[in-house]
Structure formats: structure tokens, C-alpha cells
């Protein structure tokens, strides 16, 4: 599974990254690769208007907010299934 964190490196993006790591662990996903996308031109390639954004296996799951850990776990399990 590929998890991308879109954000220029603000505190909210760091928090999202931390939550995503914890979520992957709790969801029992072993082969997850985490990619931080911090270049503005690369972020804009995704259909989001505000950062931080969370992309799981190429699909934008959330943007402009920090989702709950439970939400992220659910998305990860869904993508895994």
C-alpha cells in the first residue's frame, strides 16, 4: 500500500503523517510505504484545494483537515481488501 502525505511541511502535515503511521500499525498493514509530497507543483497535481492531503493508493481520501485515526484505519482496511 502506498500512503502519500501532501503538504509543505506545516505542523498539521506532520501531525497527519504521525497519525497515518499509527493507523497503519493499528490496522495491521505490514507493507506500507509512506511518501511525503512537499513540492507545490506536485501537490497541485492532485485534485485538492487545501493541505494537508492524504492519498492512499492514488486516491485522495481527505484534504484541508486532519482526519481521525479511526477514519484513516477504515480507509486503509478498505484499500487493503
Amino acid at each position: 500500500m502506498e500512503v502519500k502525505i501532501l503538504g509543505p511541511g506545516c505542523p498539521r502535515c506532520k501531525r497527519l503523517e504521525q497519525l497515518a503511521h499509527e493507523a497503519a500499525e493499528e490496522a495491521g498493514i505490514e507493507e506500507a510505504t509512506f511518501v511525503k509530497v512537499s513540492k507545490m507543483s506536485e501537490i497541485l497535481a492532485y485534485p485538492i484545494a487545501a493541505t494537508p492531503g492524504l492519498v492512499i493508493d492514488g486516491e485522495v481520501k481527505s484534504s484541508g483537515r486532519i482526519p481521525r485515526k479511526e477514519e484513516i484505519i477504515a480507509w486503509m482496511k478498505e484499500a487493503e481488501a
Binding site: 509543505p8 505542523p11 507545490m40 501537490i43 485534485p47 487545501a50 484541508g64 483537515r65
Partner: protein, 495 residues
């Protein structure tokens, strides 16, 4: 030997200046404004979904909606500098285009709620209001001008439709109530009307020696009441101690509040409430103890805090409250330490600057003086909110209020760093054109406000502003129409 003592005295004098400044900026009335303002900033970030504003900033939004929405969005969404650039870039490339994006970029940093509230309480409501109104008017103006200059660019805008600006979550029904209560708290704490400042009861706390403590404090940090300096009061020391305790308890209680409450969360929230109540009372130490005057302000603060907690607990999701607290604490962590250091430094530096220098450079409301204010803002970079004590220092050293406003608008707006980042998004030509217009308009804002301070008629300027903006809008509409017509003739002649 004499010289060494002289130098020592001089240094002590400078340090006293720093401490006095710190005391003045953490004084009761400032805290009553600043603490709620941090909660407002947190609520705007955590509780207001970006989509409430960006839905009006899509590709096909009409101009009369997209420009005001961009200005409003700058106010609501741009509290955090890290949201400005991504939103600016996406409004420019995928949304309403260059004009509204520029408006958003211009309005955001200059009138975020923290800066506005702090300017109002530390310098004066007149300057805060002028800052807000002129920023919105000029932000829309610069947006329109940029759209006009680079109209070809927007016409060649990539035509992909983007779902990023479509629907999305709407504003929670009770969020406006929470925001209004917070703003009422901020206003009740700051407003100087008899109803709020009058005392309705006096409580005497029999603690001996407070009056002597107070005198020691005045000796340690001397102040000049004629210059509007306040000195360190015993109440101020209590408040600063409370702030320290809030800092410690919030570190344990709010750092990870998005994962759940713990005992420290409640301790820190209780301490914040206590700080607001203490700051709202008036304390007069005398030989018998301390007379605590229970003011209307204190009643208002207590009532509003109770209302706020009821509304929040009943109508907000628990997770929303947690997120709100997390964002609020994040702002405090990010801004407050730099502010404390900055305020102290400003107090020290004030002793080093001769009033004659400032008066010679910017003592009057001239074009040069306003331009000096703007350029100082561009080349000096100060952390968020520190521009306010700096501006106040210049004011007390004899700067005219016009150039002062020019500085206050330009400082958060333009810095070498922000110019560089902007140019990575819209390119060098557009960035420097933007910088030129911002410099021009900030100078103009200072001049307008300055001549109002000097006694010119307000209505005259309001008329000028409206007329100027209307001309721009009509001009833009006319150019657009011509483009359409030309495109239509071109396509019909091609057939």
C-alpha cells in the same frame, strides 16, 4: 571605574525597558483580548471546513461573488500561514483565477483575527479598523488590477474541470454560535464602557504586604505614566504566573488532546478560565490587603465562558472540541514564545533609538514617510504579531499614524521570503508586478488614513475608494467583453 558603573546603569536601564514592555504587553487588558483570539483562530482552523469558502471560488464563479469570497476567505482561512500558499496556488491554477487568488493572498496575512485583535488592543481600535477596511478594499483592487494586466494568462488557463472546488462538507450549524460567543468574549474583555468597567462589589482579600510588593515592583521596573506606560502591577505578576502554569499544564494536557482528554487537559482549561476571570477584575493593594473589584467585565466574562462551554459540549462533536483545542494550543506554541522574546527585545531597543531619528524620517504624513514605513516592513522580517509592539514603539517615538498603518499593512504582506515563495507559484514577472502594486497601495493606505487622522473628511475618501474600485470592475468587464467579441469574430471568420 566611573565609566564602568555608567555602562552598567545603562544596560540595567535597557533591561528594565524590556521587562516593562513585557509587563505592558501581558497586562490584563491585552490577555483578555489575546487569549480569546487564540481560541477564535483555533476554531476557524478546526471547525470551519475550507469548502465553505472555496465553493465560491470555482472556475465559473461570477466576479461579484469570487472577489468578496476571496477577501472573506483570506480572513477566515488564512489564520495559519501554511494554508495560504497551497490555497493561493490552487485558486490561481484550478479555481477562480489570478485575480481572486491575489485578493486572497493580500487580505489573509494582514487581517487575520490575531493580528487584528492585538493591533486593536495594543495600539488602538481606529488603526485596527483602518487596517481591516483598507486591506479588504485594496486587496480586491489589486486582484482586479492583476487580472486586468495579465488577462491573456487567465484566458489561456487550463480548462480541466476540477472537483476540488465542488461541494464538500458544510459549516456545522453551531459553529457560528461558538465563534460569535468567542468574539463576544473578546469584545467584552476589551471594550471600555462604563457598564463593563464599573465595579459592582468589592472583595477584600486580607493578604498583608501586597502593597509593599507592588512598590518593590515599581522600583524594579520604573515607568513613566505620562507616556502611557503602566509599570508592573501585583495583578500583572499573578497573571504572568498563571500564564506559566497554563504553559506547563497545557504541555501535558493539550499536546495530544486530539487523542483524548486527560487530567491535565482539565487543569489547563480551568487555569485559562481562571486567568480570564482574574484579568477581568481590578485589584487595588492597600495596607489591609487587596481590594478585588468585581467589575461588569468580570461578570460578562464568566457568563460568556459558561455559555460557550454549554454550547460546545451540547452541540459540538467531542472530536471537534478536541481538534479545536489542539489547533488553539498549536497556535499558542507557534506564536507566543516568539512574541514574548520579540516584545522584550522591542523594549530594549526602544532605549537605543533616538526619537529625533523617527520624527525626521516619518514624523509627518508625507509620501516619503509612508514609503519609508512600507520599505521597513518589506526588508525587516518579524514573526507574526511582533509587528504590533514594534509599530507601537515607533508610535511612542513620534511616528505619524499614517506611515504607521502603511508599515502595519506592508510588514506581514511582503517580506523577501514571501516574495520568493510567491514567485515559485506565479512566476517572476507577476510577482514583481504584484509587489509594486502592494507597495503603491500600502503607501496610499497610509496616506489616506494619515490625512484622515489630520482631519480630512472620511466620506470624501470613502467616495474615492468606491469610485476607484467601480472603475476597475467596469474596466475589467469591458476588456472581457471585447475579448469575447474578438473571439467570436475570429471563430466566425474562420468558418
Amino acid at each position: 571605574m566611573f565609566n564602568m558603573w555608567h555602562a552598567f546603569d545603562y544596560v540595567v536601564g535597557l533591561l528594565q525597558g524590556g521587562a516593562g514592555n513585557l509587563a505592558a504587553y501581558l497586562a490584563a487588558h491585552v490577555l483578555l483580548c489575546l487569549l480569546p483570539a487564540f481560541f477564535v483562530a483555533g476554531a476557524l482552523t478546526a471547525l470551519v471546513p475550507k469548502e465553505t469558502v472555496t465553493r465560491y471560488l470555482g472556475r465559473n464563479a461570477p466576479k461579484y461573488i469570487s472577489y468578496p469570497a476571496a477577501a472573506l476567505g483570506g480572513f477566515v482561512l488564512a489564520v495559519c500561514s501554511c494554508t495560504i500558499m497551497p490555497l493561493f496556488a490552487s485558486i490561481h491554477r484550478k479555481g477562480a483565477g489570478l485575480g481572486p487568488a491575489i485578493t486572497f493572498l493580500f487580505v489573509g496575512p494582514a487581517i487575520n483575527i490575531l493580528a487584528l485583535a492585538y493591533t486593536g488592543v495594543a495600539i488602538g481600535m481606529d488603526i485596527a479598523l483602518a487596517r481591516a477596511i483598507l486591506c479588504i478594499a485594496f486587496g480586491i483592487g489589486i486582484g482586479l488590477i492583476m487580472a486586468l494586466i495579465f488577462r491573456k494568462d487567465d484566458a489561456a488557463h487550463d480548462q480541466q474541470t476540477v472537483e476540488a472546488f465542488a461541494g464538500g462538507p458544510r459549516l456545522h450549524k453551531s459553529t457560528p454560535a461558538v465563534l460569535l460567543l468567542l468574539i463576544a468574549l473578546l469584545v467584552a474583555g476589551t471594550l471600555q464602557v462604563d457598564l463593563l468597567t464599573d465595579s459592582y462589589a468589592t472583595l477584600t482579600v486580607p493578604v498583608g504586604g501586597i502593597d509593599r510588593f507592588q512598590e518593590t515592583l515599581y522600583d524594579l521596573v520604573p515607568f513613566d505614566a505620562s507616556k502611557g506606560e503602566e509599570g508592573v502591577t501585583a495583578q500583572g505578576v499573578v497573571l504572568i504566573a498563571l500564564l506559566g502554569l497554563i504553559g506547563v499544564s497545557a504541555w501535558f494536557g493539550l499536546n495530544k488532546v486530539d487523542e483524548g482528554y486527560n487530567r491535565w487537559t482539565w487543569v489547563s482549561l480551568g487555569l485559562i478560565a481562571l486567568t480570564l476571570v482574574v484579568a477581568a477584575t481590578k485589584m487595588i493593594p492597600d495596607a489591609r490587603g487587596v481590594d478585588v473589584l468585581l467589575t461588569g467585565k468580570m461578570l460578562a466574562v464568566i457568563v460568556l465562558m459558561i455559555a460557550l462551554s454549554l454550547v460546545a459540549r451540547r452541540h459540538l462533536d467531542q472530536y471537534e472540541i478536541q481538534e479545536w483545542l489542539w489547533e488553539t494550543w498549536r497556535f499558542v506554541k507557534q506564536i507566543f514564545p516568539l512574541l514574548v522574546v520579540g516584545v522584550f527585545a522591542v523594549g530594549v531597543i526602544r532605549g537605543l533609538i533616538k526619537p529625533e531619528w523617527i520624527q525626521a524620517l516619518a514624523g509627518g504624513n508625507t509620501v516619503v514617510a509612508n514609503l519609508v514605513g512600507v520599505l521597513f516592513g518589506v526588508f525587516m522580517y518579524f514573526p507574526t504579531l511582533v509587528e504590533v509592539p514594534i509599530a507601537n514603539m515607533f508610535l511612542s517615538l513620534g511616528m505619524h499614524r499614517g506611515p504607521l498603518l502603511a508599515y502595519l499593512i506592508a510588514d506581514p504582506e511582503l517580506s523577501l521570503q514571501s516574495i520568493l515563495i510567491t514567485s515559485t507559484v506565479i512566476g517572476k514577472t507577476k510577482t514583481w508586478t504584484y509587489v509594486a502594486w502592494v507597495t503603491l497601495f500600502s503607501t496610499l493606505a497610509g496616506l489616506i488614513y494619515g490625512s484622515w487622522v489630520d482631519g480630512a473628511s472620511l466620506w470624501l475618501f470613502a467616495a474615492y475608494l468606491v469610485a476607484g474600485l467601480a472603475t476597475l470592475a467596469v474596466g475589467l468587464g469591458w476588456v472581457r467583453q471585447r475579448q469575447h467579441r474578438r473571439a467570436a469574430t475570429a471563430s466566425s471568420s474562420a468558418e
